[in-house]
């Protein structure tokens, strides 16, 4: 079934690329949604089993796959609305949808992969698909963004490959050459620590390009800014989760070796620097999409703090990436309607949004409350648990620094958001503003309320999956 899914999904992508007919295009996209949903169900029913040797339906993969499938449906709907309004040529529409489908498929495969080289291969594929999405507008700015994204991702992927080579050297001393996570876990006591250390440094650095941490986060920011907003929503949520999966699975092995404390130190440094960088840029940024993107960097920093602190932090980290994906994608989906009203990405040109589109303004307001982790946001729960884990593992200084930085982030985010929502701007011709269908905000409400529901009153099965996902880590 997994093989069938991969073949069908990639053939749909190929057909979309070749097809120029509008109706057939929509049929293929709907077909892909059906395939994606049925594969998700298949994965749920085959929980804890393996497929095709290199894929396994474990708790972490399943949780993130469900998140991906839920987000990909509104992403494709909003893509349809976007394409309809932008008078796309058949060729550029074909490339866009083909890239979306292959991006979603590659991320699915990367979530479920149980072998580090397989994750690496699908990470390459996501770079390829994402670069096509970023280049969508084919102008100077798009070219600049694509070039930077491709170049930094290519270097990151090379870093991961070097890391895999070092990992193989580390494993060779133990007399094995199977790089699957299960086998690495079995040989965890016999891995050569020197090579393992180098492997962790390179693999971690490489995957930060996808996860959005210092040092490689820059590529992602430009990408989310330049790509069309429905694609940007995927880049800012589920693609970041893919980086998290890769780092988390490898970290789980390191956590059982003597390098545990050292690895935590590296993660702490990267996470703290990320939050710091995000804070600095958040106070300066004037581009709405980049503001959302920097908020994502800050959240991934918080997630990795949870991972490094351990204890309840593991649970909270996985919860946080899931909730963040829902919240951030809904903000990106709403962005297009905002752009249609104000015809600008700049915060300075936007204002008094409540007057022009109340439903959309509520999404922005509620998204802001969620993204800054104020109650009743679900992210309040996960962020609170991460702070508790920092407290319990006696990282008080780090906790204090993070709290100060987060206060600045909330101030900057709040200042900009409230300006967009309430402050009137001069020079807007209210008569000529486009009428925006309030139903276009519906999917955003669904996503935001899912985040609240999963945070405040999670269903039992969800909690069990979360607990099972972090079981491989030491307590």
């Amino acid at each position: 079934m997994t093989l069938i899914y991969l073949i069908v999904a990639f053939s749909i992508a190929a057909l979309l690329l070749a097809n120029r007919n509008n109706v057939l295009n929509n049929v293929l996209v709907i077909l892909f949604i059906i395939v994606q949903i049925s594969f998700t169900f298949f994965a749920c029913f085959n929980y804890r089993s393996n497929a095709l040797v290199y894929f396994s339906f474990d708790s972490l993969g399943l949780l993130l796959l469900l998140t991906l499938t839920i987000i990909s449906i509104p992403a494709l709907i909003h893509s349809y609305l976007y394409m309809k309004r932008h008078d796309e040529t058949p060729a550029s529409r074909a490339i866009y949808y083909a890239a979306m489908v292959s991006l979603i498929t590659s991320i699915t495969a990367a979530y479920l992969a149980n072998h580090i080289a397989v994750i690496w291969i699908f990470t390459e594929m996501t770079t390829l698909s994402a670069s096509m999405l970023i280049y969508h507008h084919r102008n100077r700015l798009a070219l600049e963004g694509t070039w930077k994204y491709v170049f930094i991702c290519a270097i990151s992927i090379t870093f991961v490959f070097i890391g895999i080579l070092f990992l193989s050297l580390s494993l060779r001393g133990a007399g094995s050459n199977d790089l699957s996570f299960a086998n690495l876990m079995a040989y965890k006591d016999r891995l050569n620590p020197f090579w393992l250390r180098l492997a962790f440094l390179f693999i971690f650095t490489g995957f930060t390009a996808k996860l959005g941490l210092v040092p490689m986060y820059t590529a992602g920011i430009d990408a989310k800014d330049i790509a069309p907003a429905p694609a940007g929503a995927l880049l800012a949520s589920v693609l970041m989760n893919m980086g998290f999966v890769a780092i988390f699975r490898f970290y789980a092995i390191i956590a059982h070796t003597g390098l545990y404390r050292w690895a935590n130190l590296i993660v702490f440094i990267a996470a703290l620097l990320s939050i710091f960088v995000a804070t600095v840029y958040m106070t300066k940024v004037l581009n709405i999409k980049r503001m959302f993107a920097y908020s994502g960097i800050e959240h991934m920093g918080i997630v990795m703090l949870g991972v490094a602190a351990g204890g309840i932090g593991y649970y909270a980290a996985v919860l946080h990436v899931i909730l963040h994906a829902f919240v951030k994608s809904s903000l990106f989906f709403q962005f297009n309607q905002l752009y249609r009203t104000f015809q600008s990405k700049s915060i300075e040109d936007a204002g008094n949004y409540f007057k022009y589109n109340p439903a959309g303004a509520m999404v922005i307001l509620f998204g802001f409350i969620s993204a800054t982790a104020m109650p009743p946001s679900g992210m309040f729960v996960s962020e609170f648990l991460i702070f508790r884990s920092l407290f319990e593992s006696s990282h008080i200084v780090i906790l204090l620094v993070v709290l100060v930085l987060l206060t600045i982030v909330i101030w900057a985010f709040g200042k900009n958001t409230l300006k967009i929502l309430f402050l009137p701007v001069a020079g807007i011709d209210e008569a000529s503003l486009p009428k925006i269908n309030q139903w276009e905000s519906f999917s955003q409400y669904v996503l935001l309320f899912t985040a609240v529901w999963l945070g405040l009153n999670p269903p039992l099965a969800f909690v069990e999956l979360l607990k099972d996902a972090v079981k491989i880590l030491p307590n």
């Binding site: 390829l128 100077r140 491709v150 270097i155 992927i157 090379t158 070097i162 090579w195 581009n287």
Partner: protein
């Protein structure tokens, strides 16, 4: 013999660090491709024949011929000025590359591992850092690409060190090559040449936060 080839590989790094013209960079990349072809042939003597043939075809076709020819074509077609335009003087470049090689040699000698051929480690790590240095210290986009290709050559050397036990890793390295060549050279560089006439990184500064 493998050692001789790898030492020539290191010398090519020194040579390229003081090179002024872009075409010299291209020639060095081609030379490195041929060296890797030779090293592959001598090093991977325990893997299946068809796999060896595949790997050797990749090194000779991609690394030694296709990519350099394509780069040369790009330089001509886009009328890129023929000087590399480094930020630092050649003398400083040479000192830095020498320092990189010396540091990797010292680092490699501190490792106690009988499973690793040290010269592979030294060559690949110094190529990696030299490539990063080239990316940081050269102005043109095309020299960034060349720096990246050099990094890939270095990584390929490292994958050869583990190649007899795990031929799949070498195949992954080939995938990386093909992927990067397609992505960086094939799709974009043509376009970048059209849009950015001078193709300097200084021109890539339109995206701003404020």
């Amino acid at each position: 013999m493998t050692n001789v080839l790898l030492i020539i590989f290191i010398i090519s790094l020194f040579y390229v660090s003081i090179a002024n013209r872009l075409i010299t960079y291209v020639r060095v990349l081609a030379l490195q491709g041929f060296i890797l072809f030779g090293v592959t042939f001598m090093q991977l003597n325990k893997i299946e024949t068809w796999n060896l043939v595949l790997i050797m075809l990749e090194t000779i076709v991609f690394k030694a011929i296709a990519v350099p020819v394509f780069l040369g074509h790009l330089i001509k077609r886009n009328k890129i000025t023929r000087v590399a335009e480094p930020y630092l003087s050649n003398f400083m470049s040479l000192i830095i590359v020498t320092a990189i090689v010396v540091i990797t040699v010292v680092l490699a000698n501190s490792i106690q591992d009988s499973h690793l051929d040290k010269i592979f480690f030294i060559v690949s790590l110094s190529t990696l850092f030299t490539g990063l240095y080239f990316i940081a210290s050269r102005k043109k986009i095309i020299t960034h690409v060349m720096g990246y290709l050099m990094i890939e050559n270095g990584v390929f050397v490292l994958s050869l060190a583990a190649g007899n036990e795990m031929p799949n890793l070498v195949n992954l390295g080939i995938m990386l090559d093909v992927f990067a060549s397609v992505l960086i050279l094939g799709i974009f560089f043509n376009k970048i040449g059209d849009v950015f006439k001078d193709a300097d990184v200084d021109r890539l500064t339109d995206m701003k936060d404020y």
